[in-house]
């Protein structure tokens, strides 16, 4: 019972790290980025190549995965995304779906279509038992890392100068520009950081979610659900939504295996009807 809760939390945390970048780009920049999963996939493959082929230690590789995805995100933002912020949502949808298709085919070409896994250190394998609850070490690590990240993000957004600039840039670009805030570079940095987080999530997730070229398509729906349920106006919304989804999904599969994915889809639709701005969003926010 508690093991299920634990698994659900780990799964939810992972979803959060994967999706929070999307919630930032979507909510703050009003950009529908369906290609978010492609950045996560890039991080996953970076980890696999580094650990399996180049023999880089696992931890170093995880951090590298973050930077690889962040770098790709930064370049993509400067080269392409910057042109579509102001385009209609339809264009954004088309463009990012196009990117997903390209990423899927490119990953297939470069890495092959089978699932790949990174070798993880022995210390992270197996379970430990605390008060009779069996906890997977790997999942425990995910909870620790992702929890710390969530706190860090919240802190950065709310308390730092960068955070307030970002919020200002989002609330009213023109005024923010007038105040001397370099909106373009803030967006680029934020986008890169969001992509990096996705990459980190992708790297950590290979072990649990599996990694193959269809990753961006397979999980896109999950990311979108997190963002829709959580709302896009803060970090706490998607965080709580991820946890809710993670636990609901795992518990749903455990207790009523017959229902399968119904649980989360139903949650999504109910939330959308009941509170279109997201379950945890502030009222009146956009």
């Amino acid at each position: 019972m508690l093991t299920i809760l634990f698994d659900g939390i780990a799964y939810g945390m992972l979803l959060f790290v994967l999706a929070c970048g999307l919630s930032v780009t979507l909510g703050l920049m009003n950009l529908v980025n369906l290609a978010h999963g492609a950045f996560a996939m890039a991080g996953g493959y970076a980890l696999v190549i580094l650990v399996n082929n180049l023999g880089v230690p696992f931890w170093v590789s995880v951090i590298c995965a973050f930077f690889v995805s962040a770098a790709i995100g930064f370049v993509m933002e400067k080269a392409f995304y910057v042109h579509i912020y102001r385009k209609p949502h339809l264009d954004q949808v088309l463009f990012t779906i196009g990117l997903v298709f390209m990423a899927v085919a490119a990953a297939d070409y470069a890495m092959g279509s089978s699932q790949v896994f990174a070798r993880i250190p022995d210390a992270l394998q197996g379970q430990i038992h605390v008060f009779g609850i069996g906890m997977g070490r790997y999942r425990l690590m995910i909870i620790v890392i992702c929890g710390a990240l969530a706190l860090g993000l919240q802190y950065v957004l709310v308390y730092t100068r960068f955070g307030s600039r970002l919020r200002a840039a989002v609330d009213d670009q023109r005024v923010a520009r007038g105040l001397g805030i370099n909106v373009g570079s803030i967006f680029a940095l934020t986008f890169a950081f969001g992509s990096g987080l996705a990459g980190l999530g992708g790297a950590l997730g290979t072990e649990i979610l599996g990694l193959d070229p269809t990753f961006p398509l397979k999980y896109m729906i999950y990311f979108l659900i997190v963002v829709t349920v959580g709302g896009t106006s803060s970090i706490t919304g998607p965080f709580l939504a991820s946890l809710l989804l993670g636990i609901a999904d795992v518990a749903g599969k455990y207790y009523v295996p017959k229902l399968g994915a119904f649980v989360i889809y139903t949650i999504m639709i109910v939330v959308l009807i009941w509170r279109p701005q997201g379950l945890f969003a502030r009222a009146g926010s956009k």
């Binding site: 279509s113 379970q127 979610l209």
Partner: protein, 388 residues
């Protein structure tokens, strides 16, 4: 912009004109497999095996040139049907081959019956497929073959209580049914049966449920490609340490993915018709050549493709190059040969494959993980058809 219009128009022309050219001395084989989408790894195995066979044996047999036309289904059964139909109607192929998933194979069956064209199933493993058209022949395996033998072995090897986890589609249902029936007949006890969605990434909750039932072993069937995720999560959950064994059909310890699964899979026992470790000179050569040409290890899907080509070649030799459906299928019935997996034959009555099923255990050999065979059940027919 002009260019784009020209480009589009050019492509339109090219697309519509393509096809056509058809020579009497060519035998065309339509290969309908998934090169993209969720089943892509299987498609690539088959493609590589077909290429290898043609490289080794040349493209001329009985005075005819064999031409393989590859079509990608994108892992979508509807496409399989349309592509097969086009291949039959426009390209006038003599054989449609491939079909890694049951729905694709089933969807094409009516066509094969209507057009009297041989449908050669190289991968899909649901027992009933070959009954859907008198022109279907199979070179892969059927799930009842492996599952029933697995159940026999388990019951005789101190496994009393089992939880089954299978993917929720026809082959899964086949595997589950035949394992349970045979296992119960041998006095075993099934604690729980779990069906995991086919497109399910996360086995953790199902494994937890299985673990909580405290069985001696978990019987598992997942399609080729998902085995690694399953085994990872099995270890992660500490089920190996809890003394719960994994038994299953060979799909779960797929040779292609096995090297990546980590040492935790060591000891998993499966029943299947092919292992890359199979001890024969022919297989050694096959594995070496295949790995060299394709860059990955051949798995059980690849031998289906390899033997499928062999069957086509041999049938053509027997008919003296006659490639109509009736002659080919007649020639294929009862064909016997030595494959990398061991001796196999085509059952003249059911057109299904008869082959040895091996009990294998995952072991480390020379630093690599392999399914090492330790017991052989000779000439196993599809039990689902014997019963009738």
């Amino acid at each position: 912009m002009r260019q784009f219009v020209k480009f589009a128009a050019g492509m339109a022309m090219a697309g519509l004109i393509a096809g056509g050219a058809y020579a009497q001395d060519t035998v065309k084989v339509g290969l309908v497999i998934s090169m993209t989408g969720s089943q892509a790894s299987t498609g690539k195995q088959i493609k590589a095996a077909v290429d290898l066979y043609m490289k080794e044996h040349g493209d001329t047999v009985a005075g005819k040139k064999v031409q393989v036309i590859l079509r990608d289904t994108g892992s979508v059964p509807d496409n399989a049907k349309r592509l097969a139909q086009e291949l039959i109607v426009n390209d006038k192929v003599s054989v449609v081959a491939g079909f890694e998933v049951t729905p694709a194979a089933m969807a094409v069956a009516p066509l094969s019956a209507e057009a009297k064209v041989v449908e050669l199933v190289m991968a899909a493993g649901t027992a009933s497929i070959t009954e859907k058209s008198p022109y279907i022949v199979r070179t892969s395996f059927t799930l009842p073959q492996s599952s029933a033998i697995m159940a026999d072995w388990a019951a005789n090897n101190n496994i009393k209580k089992v939880v089954t986890i299978v993917s929720d589609y026809a082959p899964g249902a086949d595997a589950e049914k035949w394992f349970i029936d045979t296992f119960k007949k041998n006095g075993g006890q099934i604690l729980e049966t779990i069906k995991a969605p086919l497109a399910n990434p996360d086995f953790a909750p199902f494994l937890q449920r299985a673990a909580d039932a405290k069985p001696d072993a978990i019987f598992v069937f997942v399609p080729s490609g998902q085995g690694a995720t399953f085994m990872k999560q099995y270890t992660e959950r500490g089920l190996d340490k809890a003394g719960i064994k994994v038994i299953g059909t060979g799909d779960v310890t797929d040779d292609d993915l096995l090297p990546q699964m980590g040492d935790a899979v060591i000891g998993a026992v499966t029943a299947h018709m092919y292992s890359a470790d199979h001890d024969s000179a022919m297989n050694k050569k096959y594995v070496a050549d295949f790995t060299k040409a394709a860059g990955f290890r051949p798995n059980f899907m690849s031998v289906g493709g390899y033997d499928g080509m062999h069957l086509i070649y041999e049938a053509l030799k027997k008919t003296g190059g006659k490639a109509d459906g009736d002659s080919l299928i007649a020639a294929m019935k009862g064909m016997k040969w030595e494959s990398p997996r061991g001796p196999i034959s085509i059952d003249p009555e059911t057109r299904d494959i008869v082959q040895n099923i091996y009990m294998r255990k995952v072991e480390k050999k020379g630093g690599q993980l392999y399914n090492v065979e330790f017991e052989t059940f000779k000439d196993v027919k599809d039990p689902a058809k014997i019963k009738k």
